[in-house]
């Protein structure tokens, strides 16, 4: 591809009819050789016009918009949004042993971070102790290793749990981590009802996208519902689930698919809770969401707005929730990891800043900004600091936090918001037609849609139709040396020792009893949270509890969906 021959100046770009940048004329060159046709569409494939006028917005906008803080919440969840309180700056952190992460927590809190967010290592995420064969080489790499309550105690040492909010990004063994958090708070003398935070615990998106599972879909969802139920009663300040679009998007979904499948998951959980006889207003307020924020600036803002509107309508009209707080889609957001490039990593600072801005303009409740070096390894302290500063600059220097939904009323944005809502609703209808999201997942429907989108995107990139700066355009041969965080392999050895020591030291009789009770409870349809609580108090390890689930419910093997 003789791209070097192409002059990409503003003059050639402005060609009205051709829409193609002119190639330097080459004798006998085939017509299709040079410039690929640029894509005038959003990342979801929604075509975009050069100009939007009032004609592009369907009548009835005022009703569709409402006011911020009122149904359907298109413009935001609160009347004054960030004027009253800036979004929570919640930077994901976690690696190595609990001591390391505890240090990073203290550092970030001192730098002005306002909420804790914990990343766990792969073995923990998958329900394995550090000394399990499957954990080999993976302990402490992608996050902090937590095998027992002792690790948890160290992780939060010196942190007053009634004064911070903590988000734990954990899914398959989330019930164990939740129980551990409650147990260590107990030791600090803090009752569960004072604890604020979130546990991700969204298994449906695991089967769709992230693929960190233990048991098959139905029992996994049952455990999620157990947590929602228990927290509704005992932890009113706690978000018992973070219904996530982030991972669905990272796996290759378009923004529309992210919107649709995430909300479909939400519908799934609500239905399961209602089947159990819960009153929708008893738990709906503590369902929280988690969006990705990708590069297509206006599409992302539209997605946030469409998401709030769709959810509000569903909760009020389909599920008959009476309390307006039940209609509110509260969300955390994270800038798109998948959009970061390993080539020219400094460029990522710019990407993250723009994405973060979109999330703020979209009205997020909390935000994590990625570090520039994350395509290469876990972030260094310096890179993590820049990411945090990015948010602080947006919050305090740009003025965007002073006005709610400043883009509201833009012909383009409203047309795009409406369009995304329509397309998402189309997917939701299809999924309803399949019998709901659990069925759709078992049939591989969202997985296939995502695999197709991922493939399509990659082909667009390889054809040069989607430009990624520094990768397929404006590349350079320069090797930028960014200091990369290395995980000390000693960590694995120490963690293995520690978990073995915990098993040896604990009260065996108490452990035996608690495990037996848990095993029995799994065979019933009792809520498992109290039983897991007893087990963690008895210093049962995460792997041991997960093994009980494996025994009781089976281990999941996915179908290969292409």
């Amino acid at each position: 591809m003789a791209n070097a021959a192409r002059t990409d100046t503003a003059a050639t770009r402005a060609e009205p009819e051709s829409g193609r940048a002119e190639a330097a004329p080459k004798p006998h060159a085939p017509e299709t050789a040079e410039a690929p046709v640029p894509l005038f569409e959003t990342l979801s494939g929604i075509p975009v016009r050069p100009l939007y006028t009032p004609e592009d917005v369907k009548p009835g906008l005022e009703e569709r918009l409402g006011k911020p803080g009122q149904f359907p919440f298109t413009r935001g969840l609160h009347p004054e949004m960030y004027r009253t309180r800036i979004w929570t700056m919640r930077q994901f952190a976690g690696f190595g042993t609990a001591e390391h992460t505890n240090q990073r927590f203290h550092y970030l809190l001192a730098q002005g971070m306002t909420g804790l967010s914990t990343a766990f290592d792969m073995p923990t995420l998958m329900g394995y102790d550090a000394d399990h064969a499957m954990a080999l080489g993976e302990v402490g790499r992608e996050g902090v290793a937590i095998s027992s309550l002792e690790d948890m105690e160290i992780l939060f040492r010196g942190i007053p749990l009634d004064q911070v909010t903590t988000s734990m990004t954990i899914n398959a063994p989330a019930i164990v981590l939740l129980a551990m958090y409650v147990a260590i708070a107990e030791k600090q003398g803090i009752p569960p009802k004072k604890l604020g935070g979130t546990v991700q615990a969204d298994m449906l998106k695991e089967f769709i996208a992230q693929k960190e599972w233990i048991c098959p879909p139905r029992p996994s969802v049952k455990i999620c519902v157990d947590m929602i139920e228990w927290c509704a009663e005992h932890m009113p300040r706690w978000n018992s689930i973070s219904i996530s679009g982030y991972h669905i998007r990272e796996a290759g979904a378009t923004a529309v698919q992210e919107l649709a499948f995430t909300i479909a998951d939400g519908i799934g959980y609500v239905e399961e809770c209602l089947k159990r006889g819960m009153d929708v207003d008893a738990f709906a307020q503590r369902l929280s969401f988690f969006w990705d924020v990708h590069n297509d600036f206006f599409e992302e803002i539209a997605k946030f707005r469409a998401g709030r509107r769709i959810w509000a309508k569903l909760m009020r009209d389909r599920f008959q929730a009476k309390n307006p707080r039940s209609w509110m889609l509260r969300t955390h957001a994270q800038t798109a990891g998948v959009s970061l490039t390993a080539q020219q990593p400094l460029n990522n600072v710019a990407r993250v800043a723009i994405q973060a801005l979109a999330a703020v303009l979209g009205g997020t409740q909390s935000l994590h900004t990625n570090s520039m070096d994350e395509t290469l390894a876990l972030p260094t302290e310096e890179a993590a600091t820049v990411a945090l500063r990015t948010q602080q600059i947006i919050a305090h220097e740009t003025g965007v936090a002073n006005v709610v939904d400043p883009f509201g009323g833009s012909y383009f944005l409203e047309a795009l918001t409406d369009r995304m809502e329509e397309e998402a609703m189309e997917y939701l209808r299809r999924i309803d037609g399949m019998g709901g999201i659990i069925q759709a997942v078992e049939q591989g429907f969202p997985q296939k849609e995502i695999a197709d989108s991922a493939y399509r995107f990659q082909m667009q990139v390889e054809e040069g139709r989607r430009i990624i700066v520094g990768v397929n355009r404006f590349g350079g041969e320069e090797e930028v040396s960014i200091p990369v965080l290395k995980i000390d392999p000693e960590i694995e050895r120490r963690q293995i020792e520690r978990v073995r020591a915990v098993r040896a030291r604990r009260d065996a009789a108490r452990w035996e009893r608690a495990m037996g009770d848990l095993r029995d409870a799994c065979m019933s349809d009792k809520n498992l949270v109290p039983f897991v609580l007893d087990a963690v108090r008895a210093y049962a390890t995460l792997g041991e509890i997960s093994d009980v689930f494996r025994e009781a419910y089976g281990v999941y093997r996915e179908p290969a969906v292409f």
Partner: protein
Amino acid sequence: MSLVENGAPGADALLDEIYGARPPAPRVGITGPPGAGKSTLVAEMALLLRRQGRRLGVIAVDPTSPYTGGAILGDRVRMSELSTDPGVFIRSMATRGSLGGLAARTEELCELLSAWGSDLTLIETVGVGQSELDVAQAADTTVVVLTPESGDAIQSLKAGLMEIADIFVVNKADHAGADQLAAGIRSALGLRPPAPWRPPIVKTIATGRQGIEELNEAIEKHRAHLGDPGVSEGLRREKIRARLKNAVRERLLEGAWERKGLGALLDRAADQVLHGTISPYRAARDLIERMTDHGERSPN
């Protein structure tokens, strides 16, 4: 195995050598429309047979893309647990243009698996539904897997699948419509002339590991039925006849186009037909003459 799969030099000599060295492993074909749960069923059957201590061969066939010639062979995913079991040999095959649900050399690979020591070989087909007929020829017992969702398949059960099934499986039997499907199959079977073997209908929930033992029993029963001397000789001759035809056809055509000059002749013939100089049938006859002129095309 690749040697045999590719029909490479030495393949047939090898097959000759191993043929009959061990009693041939019975072959069970698993077919049915996509989404019926064939893969899960095969995985569950394999686990059951392993628990019984039998050595197992599994051939999983997936379609080759007609445009690119490539294929994604993903059936091993469901059988991950068996991946390190030395008593199981799993081989994935792409159809490479074959249209009957199996790859051209599936039978040859079954022979190799017998030689390896397989007590039973499971053959999982592509699963397009209507065109899954090759399996009836390659397998001793053909299991057709349906689900309540393939309800409309009852219409397509008129021919093809109905006739090749030695055993019917109604998988996802916990889904609505399972009983109706079973009833539909039963009545369709009832319309057939009486035969010495009446295909049983086994209900399974593969993902819940239910019905697998019953399926296995049905397969055993069918095997016993085949072993019955009155039955077996006629049937076996039929199958052998079909297999011989297959083997001959494969070897006749294999490599024919690449043989020197024939590729170019084909191109020229295509041009002639395109320009209306000759009819395609005339062109075909000419090509055949040329082929046979080029001497023996029987392999090595």
